[in-house]
Symmetry: C2
Subunit: 594 residues, 2 copies
């Protein structure tokens, strides 16, 4: 089950589309350079290919829960984690003040893609840890930072996010977990949390749980939720590990996929209360969680794309090896490799083009995240923040919805063998399925996109992006990409009609706007992915003729862009019709008649 990190593709997305040189020049990123990033990519590729990919299939056997509440990680995972720590990867985007390298989000994303492609289950441990690091770094006291961040940045300890409770899925207003002040500045935390990724395992010395809970006098709803650090082992004054805290993993879920990632039911305070420490101010827990959500959601969008990439590689390998049936229209009855059958090529190109567009859009979003946090000009930072806000639900929602259909195509390329678990491609199909669900379902991101990200700002960012895409269409036309240009322009116009519709309906008839929210999210993904693929085509055309240019790379890039223009962009009109004309029929059915 080989994985070849697509370093050239990643480099193209970073350097050409997301303008890495400009990101490296932002204040605080001075240590970053294109050369350094090249070296990081090469090393990350080696690690992903050599250490993480080989244990992905055995990871599917799953972690094991024991009746003493301990969890044994899937075979090979602990050793891989120790190597990951040894190599310093946990610190790549951790803050430099606490031992990390403080690399831009754009660079971290590139490495994360490789971890996710190689081994999605494994990749969640560092992803969650970094989320916890970010929340602590932004909001906790210096004292707490000093205790927790160095060991988390080094990977000696891992982190988790404890949000969901059985009665409260995405609706955090319903959180019931309690935290009672002890009097010494600490709290006793109690309650049950579910769906806790890497909530318990044996890979690291300690696990730092970030837990949403309510103080005794907290107001109801989301304004009464506070954020606490609850370590698995208490930490002594000298930094050594102390007593086991009153938190335990009471079971692991049996899931459709990502079996290598233990999904824990966590019980806090069964023996009187787990010792916890308040992060920042009381009742601001939800706001604190939101500060790291853009990163986390971008990360999940990358997960979806990365699993599709891995599935693509597997499907290509099979399609080259498997000989079956004569070539279409050939008088020669000999079988040919199925990669020669047009429909197999169509499936492979569909995955390939989707992945490239998704990667490009994710990289552009990551670069905007870096600019939003570091750009010295306030107005630039603000406009990039608006861009991030708009792009994140699209990258999260579109990439992951596509992951379901693209990994399904990879199964299909394998025919009957795709359905056999030993083949391995079914694992990607199962693993991918979670990505459109966790960190907010696509429906939740659709609502976010039409409400806070479109209506609330009068459609400004949406229109600015569509205008950019239209300009690119004009350049494509001038450069001879006539059909791509025409399809992009038509798609931009359709998307614009949808923006108009959302702005017109959202306030007075929000149900109508909401009915089309996910089709809108998807079509914006296709249009903005098309914008990036258009830019890619223009760059590839320009570079193709340069001395020493990688002719094969640009040939493939141009072919893939063309495919995107002819197979993806035309889907926009159908989705736009659903948004603009289809809301009534979403809402019409009397509830009792479903």
């Amino acid at each position: 089950m080989i994985y070849n990190a697509p370093v050239k593709e990643i480099r193209f997305a970073l350097n050409e589309l997301a303008e890495l040189p400009a990101i490296c020049s932002l204040p605080g990123y001075e240590d970053c350079s294109v050369d350094l990033v090249d070296a990081i990519l090469e090393e990350a590729a080696k690690f992903a290919e050599g250490v993480l990919a080989p244990i992905n299939k055995q990871g599917d056997q799953g972690a094991k829960w024991h009746s003493d509440f301990s969890v044994t990680s899937a075979p090979g995972f602990k050793d891989a984690w120790l190597q990951y720590v040894e190599a310093g990867w946990p610190g790549l985007r951790a803050p430099a003040d606490f031992g990390g390298q403080g690399m831009p989000a754009l660079v971290a994303l590139a490495a994360e893609e490789m971890w996710c492609s190689a081994n999605l289950s494994f990749s969640l441990a560092p992803l969650l840890t970094l989320g916890a690091v970010e929340a602590i770094n932004h909001h906790a006291s210096e004292e707490l930072k000093a205790v927790y961040l160095p060991k988390m940045s080094s990977g000696e300890w891992t982190g988790t996010m404890n949000l969901t409770e059985p009665q409260a899925g995405s609706d955090l207003a319903q959180v019931r977990s309690r935290a009672v002040p002890v009097g010494d500045g600490s709290y006793k935390v109690s309650g049950q949390k579910i769906f806790i990724t890497w909530g318990e395992h044996d890979m690291a010395d300690n696990i730092v749980h970030l837990v949403l809970a309510r103080l005794p006098d907290a107001p109801a709803g989301v304004k009464g939720i506070s954020l606490f650090i609850v370590p698995k082992f208490l930490v002594n004054e000298d930094g050594s590990l102390g007593a086991r805290n009153d938190v335990r993993c009471v079971s692991l879920e049996h899931k459709l996929g990502i079996h290598g990632s233990p999904t824990a039911v966590m019980s806090f305070g069964d023996e009187g209360g787990a010792i916890g420490y308040l992060v920042g101010e009381a009742n601001k827990g939800l706001a604190y969680m939101f500060t790291m959500m853009n990163h986390a959601r971008l990360g999940v969008g990358v997960e979806g794309m990365a699993v599709s990439e891995r599935a693509y590689q597997k499907a290509v390998e099979y399609a080259r090896d498997r000989v079956q049936s004569r070539a279409v229209g050939s008088p020669d009855a000999s079988g040919v490799a199925i990669i020669r059958h047009p429909d197999v090529r169509r499936m492979l190109m569909t995955i390939r083009a989707g992945v490239e567009a998704q990667r490009a859009l994710a990289c552009v979003a990551a670069a905007a995240l870096d600019r939003a946090s570091r750009h010295p000009v306030a107005s630039e930072a603000a406009s990039n923040q608006a861009l991030v806000n708009f792009l994140i639900p699209i990258v999260k929602g579109w990439n992951t919805e596509e992951a379901n259909s693209l990994t399904s195509l990879a199964v299909q390329v394998h025919g009957g063998m795709g359905f056999i678990e030993e083949t391995g491609v079914a694992q990607y199909y199962r693993d991918a399925r979670i990505t459109a669900i966790y960190e907010g379902t696509t429906g939740i991101h659709g609502l976010d996109l039409i409400g806070r990200k479109t209506f609330s700002e009068g459609g400004a960012t949406a229109r600015a992006l569509l205008e950019e895409a239209k300009l690119t269409a004009g350049k494509l036309a001038a450069a001879g990409f006539a059909s791509f240009a025409a399809n992009l322009e038509a798609a931009v116009a359709d998307a614009g009609r949808c923006v108009d519709y959302i702005l017109a309906t959202f306030k007075e008839q929000p149900q109508l706007a909401a009915a089309g929210s996910v089709p809108f999210l998807k079509l914006m993904g296709i249009v903005l992915g098309g914008w990036q693929m258009g830019r890619a085509a223009l760059i590839a055309q320009a570079k193709q003729g340069e001395d020493g240019a990688d002719a094969d790379f640009y040939t493939a890039k141009l072919a893939t862009c063309r495919f995107y223009g002819e197979h993806y962009l035309p889907q926009v009109s159908g989705l736009a019709a659903a948004v603009v004309d289809g809301a009534g029929s979403v809402l019409d059915m009397p509830e009792a008649l479903f």
Copy 2:
């Protein structure tokens, strides 16, 4: 995990759309009547709901292979099979001459939908058995029929189809299994077959394998394949069971889904040769298999639709029960059942509308199958056979491709719970995945559709069907369904352009036509499904006002048709663009650069 057989919907599709009364009047179906079929549907619903559905989840634990080459069926399956036999269900569409009821394909299909919804894994045992019955009945000697058909029609024995070999997936020209005449009229069969559904189990006294193999002097390729009956136990003169034959199940596959259906690797002749009996003439095996393929493929199309129906029911149940988040736009912060969230409704309506259209199209195809085999006027029989030939790849391919996306939507409705195996909906997602693969992948049916079914007859049936759909669009416009009519007419026009393109390119540039074959198959599914939903809307409108009409049923039907018109039909233009404009970019990528 409740299943409620949608008897009203099935009855509507049978009686109104597929014209059951006319089918009952065909020669040979005189015993059939609408009242009888009503009774059959009620009984089938009871059996599916009460016996098959309750063991579906435990069936996911799988059948067990033992080192003595025996297989223990999944828990509860043997008992359910005995009840199925006791109730006489195996005989529903088995020939009346051999103890069956000889019901029309249309009626059998209705019952089969319920078996498949209730328990897809179980349903494959009778489906495969009936396929074997049909092949034997059409092509074997009277002697062989007398030995095998009564016990297979009663369900005392089951049947299998042994086509695939490791080196020969769908390309049966590569079949290598051998059959050597013994001299007494029997043959010694040897070879290995894979992917044999219900190839070994403990539910019935005997298993009758139909095996494709080559005689010693057979020509190469598909013209040298013969069909043999190879029973697990030889049958004595008096009909009692004799010696164990030299055929064994050497392993079961570990699959993504349908775990309750044992998928066997079968080895014939390890101890000198399994005794087999030639069906019909030598070297005609492939042609004989084709006579039953339309039924089998229609059956798999029904499987896809039926699993989507079951997933729909599960999703509706969850969406009614699960309370989360305030209603969109509501000032009241209280959570509401998620069925009130527009995107959840959109997902439910998408599944519902897809299933209804697919069911309608499958029923129309089944009725054509009945007319083709029984219509007394030769020209009518012939035109219906052309209709069957054209519709079967669409019903098979479209329904099953949709099953992947519709069961995925049902998972999505469940949010995080959808990813947890105990919830049960993930099983439907996994089970459904095989349907677009076996009995020919969608790619194979796409090629069949554009070649033998479109180009070879100059597009006659395609155009006739599109003309019918256009007439329906006209009626819809006249009846006040303006937007449905406009969308259907536009979709018909797009489909017509695709037919023109295929006719223009297939002969000289078959690779171009093939590149769009699957998008063409899908768009024809959407258009013809739209034709049926348009007919349904017209009928519902007319019946709604009748005395004693089931107002709720027709209200729901009209709402679902409207949704189909606004959300499915607009997808056709994007698919048509891929067919007509997108072939070049499917073929352009140099093979080495994938």
